[in-house]
């Protein structure tokens, strides 16, 4: 099903890879400058053990930072939803935070918090927090007026209306925000590692670049893409698992 719905995109990708492979073989360009996709795959296979160690470090940081970001964004969204004054005060601050270039911030984070997990996690949070927060707040605003009125006429208070109407109404927007942020999470982690780390895809790319190994740099890019797709797939799974209809099928009497 997943394969069928993405068939066109997969075909385009394969065509581009074939074009790239053909260009490398026919133009005589040296693999030191532009390795063919087959060279990249060979390097990936030969260095799989080393790259997988770095990939594990990256996915660990990204997952930890992303989970914390989702938690903070969710708690903040509730606070802002119930206190419009807070929303008016903080949203511009969050917008400004998004204008700080990562290239300036990543080295500063390393300088302030060292080479451990903390600076990378903070960077992931900084990058992913805002899209999740915004998607939640916009999702809350999509709660149908009729539903809220109905609950109020039944005597439901603000909290009950939020739990039973506003929160479920925000579900599609929330997952849309999560998917956008998930792609940023991996990129932000790699960027933070690039600025300074002991292990991770970012530091692997830096080392490969310093050794003029374009094939290894591209191998790391392949791994980064796979990690992002895996994270997106995991989010799809959670979305499906928590869907009310799936939940009903799980709990339905046989």
């Amino acid at each position: 099903m997943l394969l069928r719905s993405n068939a066109l995109a997969i075909l385009v990708m394969l065509a581009l890879l074939l074009l790239w492979e053909a260009y490398c073989r026919m133009s005589g360009v040296t693999p030191l400058v532009l390795p063919a996709p087959s060279d990249v795959l060979r390097s990936l296979y030969l260095n799989a053990h080393e790259i997988s160690g770095h990939a594990l470090a990256t996915i660990g940081v990204a997952a930890l930072g992303f989970s914390m970001s989702v938690t903070f964004a969710f708690l903040t969204s509730i606070a802002l939803h119930f206190t419009p004054t807070l929303e008016r005060a903080f949203i511009p601050v969050f917008v400004v935070s998004q204008t700080i270039p990562l290239v300036a911030l990543a080295p500063l984070m390393i300088l302030w918090f060292g080479f451990g997990v903390l600076p990378k996690m903070l960077l992931v949070i900084l990058v992913t927090f805002f899209p999740i927060l915004l998607s939640l707040l916009s999702g809350y605003r999509q709660a149908p007026r009729d539903f809220l009125d109905l609950m109020a006429s039944m005597g439901a208070g603000r909290l009950q209306r939020f739990r039973r109407v506003t929160l479920p109404s925000a579900r599609p927007a929330f997952f849309a925000g999560l998917r956008i942020s998930a792609t940023y999470a991996i990129v932000a982690t790699i960027f933070a590692e690039y600025a300074g780390a002991r292990s991770g895809i970012g530091i692997y790319i830096l080392q490969a670049k310093n050794n003029f190994r374009a094939d290894l740099v591209l191998s790391a890019v392949v791994v980064s893409a796979v990690l992002t797709l895996a994270l997106l797939g995991f989010l799809r799974l959670i979305e499906w698992w928590t869907d009310p209809e799936t939940r009903r099928r799980r709990h339905a009497p046989a």
Binding site: P144, D146, F147, D149, L150, M151, A152, S153, M154, G155, A156, Q160, R164, V165, P168, R171, P244, E245, R248, A252
Partner: protein, 246 residues
């Protein structure tokens, strides 16, 4: 008896409706009809305690002579749409009002479950709203309203979104349900045919600022309300509304 006195609704300094006074009797269906924008919906939204904050209202509501504050104790409201939550099953939707009122899910279910069959909803308990037809969704919404055991029910154009055939079926069905389980009903509609088929009493509102310009009881039993028998009443209503427009 539920009595509304001197209701006035304003937005900024503009008077939208009022002053309006009306009485709802137990076990009687009252239809509130009038031209679009006259404030019919605002009347029942105020009674249900859900008038939008930008609208300022004054007036009193008394139940059997005693002024009342908490509407949800004796009034159930059904909005224009069926307002079935798409993330809940029909069973969960029906139990919603009871759970909000403090019942556990088990207690609410024990109370609602026997009503699914008389409402023609047996077998839909575990389905989601999107899996039901428009008429069945309306019945589920109506069951959610009825099961709350309120003495009075407020219906805001409940059949306006249905196709012509389903609408007639649902009107007949509503009449039979109310005969089996009578309640005091205030139903807003702009459909003269619907109002004359269902109501025991018609309250006709004028255009903005909406006021009650006629209170017309329909003494004919519902079984005898043929098109011919209702023709005079409808003609009278039409004249009233057209005169008001000019």
């Amino acid at each position: 008896m539920l009595r509304l006195e001197d209701l006035e609704v304003r937005v900024a300094d503009t008077l939208l409706l009022g002053p309006i006074s009306l009485e709802l009797r137990e076990n009687q269906v009252t239809c509130l009809i009038g031209p679009s924008g006259c404030g019919k919906t605002s009347v029942i939204k105020w009674m249900a305690g859900i008038l939008p904050p930008e609208m300022k209202a004054s007036g009193t509501l008394t139940l059997d002579g005693t002024p009342v504050e908490r509407h949800d104790r004796f009034l159930s409201y059904q909005p224009q749409s069926d307002a079935l939550f798409p993330w809940l099953t029909i069973g969960e939707n029906v139990c919603l009002g009871l759970e909000v009122a403090g019942m556990s899910r088990g207690e609410a279910w024990a109370k609602a479950a026997p009503l699914f069959e008389p409402f023609g909803l047996k077998g839909t308990e575990h389905l989601f709203p999107r899996q039901l037809s428009g008429g069945m969704r309306q019945r589920a919404a109506f069951l959610r309203t009825i099961v709350q055991d309120s003495r009075y029910i407020l219906l805001d154009e409940p059949f306006s979104a249905l196709d012509a055939v389903t609408k007639i079926r649902m009107q007949e069905w509503l009449v039979s349900r109310l005969e089996a389980d009578p309640r005091g009903v205030l139903m807003v509609t702009h459909d003269l045919h619907e109002a004359s088929r269902i109501a025991d009493r018609l309250l006709v509102m004028s255009s903005r600022p909406g006021r009650i310009m006629a209170d017309l009881p329909i003494n004919l039993p519902r079984g005898q309300r043929s098109e011919t028998a209702l023709a005079d009443l409808r003609e009278h209503l039409k004249t009233l509304l057209l005169e008001d427009e000019t």
